[in-house]
């Protein structure tokens, strides 16, 4: 039953989000760090000093303002009821900016960079790996091109990012050192010059992700394709007199891509965590940087908001994969557990 299957998957989806967001609520609070004190320390570091006798009163005011003086259970219930409406309150470190505003600003940057570069690496790597294993294809060219990518796959992409910055931005001065756009330009999404600026700034971080992950996808696909070519249906495809293109795409790649799809679903969480490092290194104004800054400042509300969105995105991606997988592989039926 498809309805039954969908209901179960959606139930799972809700359960995962509930558990993950609850963890996300309690974990920062159990560290013992006080976000208000951290905030005041940051202010002090900027030269805003407070008289000692006012200090306690200030903390109390702040706590009341952010509702941090209430019992933990009440805070938790408020958090749950507001989170479902995507309302995460105001940022502590960037008061009075609302958390949702921070997320709205950062999200398009991250999605644009990460989704594009991950999918690009997936498609290029998978196809490259497939051709590399295909005896009848333009194998020789790929035998020269792909092995360096296998090497790069072993290099973490933040490290690769640093190397790229040094080579292409610092030494060769071909691309900007970091940021989402040059600090001297005004963000105007209708201006072609600005879009070009954004594209140039995204090249290095995208390149570091793509270069580091093409090899991973190519290796996985290559070994699957080698297994597939030993299958009897590949011999049968040849005995049926199929064209090479049809045997390649409809028989070999079609079957070999199934485990790749699973791997893509499993890689998504790593994409998010990896993004934190990449965005930090490249000073990219994405969600990873927002999260990084929130964690260093113990900004509970921003952490809650960003992690909630990330959890939602991953759980949703998993749900999509779960729903489309039976369409990709008829042996997986909607009815089985």
């Amino acid at each position: 039953m498809t309805v039954d299957y969908l209901a179960r998957r959606i139930g799972m989806f809700v359960a995962v989000i509930f558990v993950a967001t609850s963890f996300n609520f309690f974990l920062p609070r159990f560290t013992g760090q006080d976000p208000i004190a951290t905030r005041l320390e940051l202010l002090a570091a900027e030269g805003v000093t407070t008289r000692a006798e006012d200090y306690a009163a200030l903390i109390e005011t702040y706590n009341a303002k952010f509702g941090l003086d209430r019992p933990l259970v009440l805070q938790y219930l408020t958090y749950l009821s507001t989170a479902v409406r995507f309302d995460f309150g105001e940022s502590i470190t960037k008061y009075p900016t609302r958390v949702s505003e921070l997320i709205n600003q950062a999200m398009p940057w991250s999605i644009g960079l990460l989704v594009t570069s991950t999918l690009l690496a997936f498609v290029v790597g998978t196809l490259g790996g497939a051709v590399l294993a295909w005896q009848h294809g333009p194998k020789a060219a790929f035998e020269l091109i792909l092995p360096p990518f296998f090497l790069l796959a072993a290099v973490p992409y933040y490290l690769l990012g640093l190397i790229l910055i040094w080579l292409l931005a610092f030494q060769a001065k071909l691309l900007p050192l970091g940021g989402g756009y040059a600090p001297t330009t005004l963000p105007d999404w209708s201006d072609f010059g600005f879009l070009w600026e954004v594209f140039k700034h995204s090249l290095l971080p995208a390149l570091s992700i793509v270069l580091a992950s093409i090899g991973f996808w190519a290796l996985g696909m290559r070994s699957m394709m080698i297994t597939m070519q030993g299958e009897d249906y590949m011999l049968q495809a040849e005995a049926k007199g199929l064209t090479k293109a049809r045997a390649f795409f409809r028989y070999a790649v079609r079957n070999a891509v199934l485990p790749q799809t699973t791997a893509l679903a499993l890689t998504l969480p790593h994409v998010v965590s990896g993004a934190i490092l990449v965005e930090r290194i490249f000073g990219y104004p994405g969600i990873g940087r927002v999260l990084y800054e929130a964690i260093t400042g113990f900004d509970y509300f921003v952490i809650q908001g960003v992690v909630f969105i990330i959890v939602l995105a991953i759980a949703f991606a998993m749900l999509v994969i779960d729903v489309i997988y039976p369409l990709l592989d008829p042996r997986i039926s909607y009815s089985s557990a």
Binding site: E231, D232, Y233, L235, Q236, A237, E238, A239, K240, G241, L242, T243, R246, R250, Y251, R254, N255, L258, L328, D329, P330, R331
Partner: protein
């Protein structure tokens, strides 16, 4: 309409001896069996060798036989005797490090050996089809049965409506004893016997002149084996194709075939009608092989096997390949390679005992 306009690239490749390629299901249904005066398949001195570190492995070494239209030949022999290698070579599906070293495969008069990849691709399925050993896994698990049969048709230039293609597939399925709705099913929804029937339906989808059936029942239980063989038999009668059945089950093979060819160490050592082979085996190896088949009526204490093992196919010693295991071995056997000898009634034996030019004490030349 399409028959008159086959001046496309596909037709250009075809030699003048071939009729136009069918482009619709109707053409396919009307396509006849070609020139009946020629053998459907005439294999001459075919050699399939493998390069290995130990030397050249002569997996198939100088095999010759001819099959008339609608004739059914069974190839039998021990594991490793080269019967599957021969079957694959007939389809030109020999994989490296294997290669066809020489000989001819005349299909309705046209030699397949010199054909290029694209010409051979078009010949497969349309003229010579394979029903494989493990039909269990011969179907693409992610495609519906009918789509897998369509693929073969489409890649051989059949351009027709979905309805016509589908009705053709339904006819094929009905002919092998399956219901129409099997076309819409996926391979994992079928039983082993059903998959094997689908393999037969696929193999006969373009009315080939020759069907190579490589142990089509080896993965099935005995009851289903018989049903599948009867299906193959019926389809063969319907289409008039010549069938080369590769197997090692003498009983099963004898029920199906008109003629039996016995292979040993890459050579076709004995070939004759089923009756000739079973009732009066000539080659000493055939005699031993027949003796090792259990008989339902006759009570025997123990089945006789054949002592020894087949020789490695690298660096074969001079003389007869069977000599080391042969009960009738004599001096010439270890020195002189036996030739293919026609002993009458289209019966061929490769043994000095039947060669009038070789002096043997036990000679059976009359």
């Amino acid at each position: 309409m399409a028959v008159e306009t086959t001046t496309n690239a596909v037709a250009d490749r075809e030699q003048s001896t071939r009729s136009e390629m069918p482009t619709t299901i109707d053409d396919l249904r009307r396509s006849g069996m070609g020139d009946s005066s020629l053998p459907a398949i005439d294999v001459k001195d075919l050699k399939v060798y493998y390069d290995s570190e130990a030397g050249v492995v002569k997996a198939v070494d100088g095999v010759s036989f001819a099959l008339q239209q609608g004739e059914r030949l069974a190839l039998v022999g021990e594991s490793g005797c080269g019967k599957t290698t021969l079957g694959m070579a007939l389809m030109k599906l020999t994989k490296a490090p294997g290669y066809i070293d020489g000989g001819q495969i005349l299909l309705d008069g046209r030699d397949l050996v010199p054909l290029d990849d694209e010409e051979m691709r078009l010949a497969r399925l349309a003229e010579i089809a394979l029903v494989t050993q493990s039909a269990m896994n011969a179907l693409n698990p992610v495609m519906r049965i009918e789509d897998q049969i369509f693929d073969g048709l489409i890649d051989h230039g059949i351009k027709d409506t979905k309805e016509n293609l589908r009705s053709h597939v339904y006819d094929l399925l009905l002919r092998v004893g399956l219901r129409e709705n099997v076309g819409r099913m996926f391979p994992h929804e079928l039983s082993g016997g059903m998959k094997q029937r689908v393999a037969i339906a696929t193999g006969t989808s373009m009315n080939p002149k020759v069907i190579v059936a490589d142990e089509p029942t080896s993965a099935l239980d005995v009851v289903v084996q018989r049903q599948v063989m009867m299906t193959l038999s019926r389809v063969q009668r319907d289409t008039g194709a010549a069938v080369i059945l590769i197997g090692h089950d003498m009983g099963l093979v004898a029920q199906f075939a008109d003629r039996i060819g016995v292979m040993y160490a890459g050579k076709l050592v004995d070939i004759g009608t089923v009756q000739q082979i079973i009732e009066e085996p000539k080659h000493p190896y055939t005699k031993l092989l027949i003796n090792s088949v259990p008989d339902l009526e006759e009570k025997r204490e123990r089945l006789t096997g054949i002592p020894g093992i087949p020789p490695p196919l690298v660096d074969l010693p001079p003389g007869c390949v069977f000599a080391p295991r042969c009960p009738s071995v004599e001096v010439p056997c270890n020195e002189l390679e036996p030739k293919d000898t026609d002993i009458g009634d289209n019966r061929h034996v490769m043994c000095h005992l039947f060669d009038p030019d070789v002096a043997m004490a036990g000679s059976e030349v009359v």
